[in-house]
Symmetry: C2
Subunit: 108 residues, 2 copies
C-alpha cells in the first residue's frame, strides 16, 4: 500500500472465555473493525488512509482499542457507532475525538 | 501500556500454502517478531518502546514487513539478524536503517 496520511490500528486480540485479562474480542472489536472496513470501502478511503488489525495493544479491560498514527492517539471503549466520527473528525479533519481518548493513566 | 516513544508493528499475517499473495508468515515473520520480543525483554525496552503484531500490511511479496511509528518508516525483507540494528539505530538513536527501507513504489 502507499504510505497513508493516517494509519488506523484496531486491536483484534481474542482470549479464551474466562481469561482474567479479557480481550478486545470479548468487548466487540470485530464489529468495530468491520465498521471501519465498510466505511473505508464506502468512502474510498483506502490509499489515503490505512486500516490494520493488531494483536494486543495492552488496554484489555477498556477495549475495543484503536490507535491512530502518526498522531499516536489511542481510543478506548470504541463502539461501531463511534467509527464515523473518528473518520470524519480525526482522519479527515485532523481533529482527534476527545471524548474517546484513552485515560492519561493508560496512554500518556 | 504507556504511550511509547516508538511503536514497532510486525506483520504476522499467514495464508494457506499456495495462496497467490503469499504472506509474511511464509517469509519468516514469526522469527522476526520473536527476535524483537526477545531483544525488548533483554534490553528492558517495553514501556519506552512498544511491539505489536499485525494483520496484513500490504507488502506481502517483500515481507517480512515492519513499520515503525510515529516515524512511518516501513521496512521490508526483514530478517531476524536485522532486528538488533533496527533497535539500536532507529529506536534508540532515531536513525532509520536505510538499507532495509521499503522501496518508494511501495511506501512513499
Amino acid at each position: 500500500m502507499a504510505k497513508p496520511e493516517k494509519h488506523v490500528f484496531v486491536c483484534a486480540q481474542s482470549r479464551p472465555p474466562g481469561h482474567p485479562r479479557g480481550s478486545c474480542a470479548q468487548l466487540g472489536c470485530a464489529a468495530v473493525l468491520q465498521t471501519f472496513a465498510q466505511q473505508f470501502e464506502q468512502g474510498q478511503l483506502h490509499g489515503k488512509f490505512a486500516l490494520t488489525s493488531t494483536g494486543c495493544l495492552g488496554a484489555c479491560d477498556i477495549g475495543p482499542t484503536v490507535i491512530v498514527y502518526p498522531d499516536a492517539v489511542m481510543y478506548t471503549k470504541v463502539k461501531p457507532e463511534d467509527v464515523g466520527e473518528i473518520i470524519s473528525e480525526h482522519l479527515q479533519k485532523g481533529e482527534p475525538v476527545e471524548r474517546l481518548k484513552a485515560p492519561a493513566a493508560v496512554w500518556a
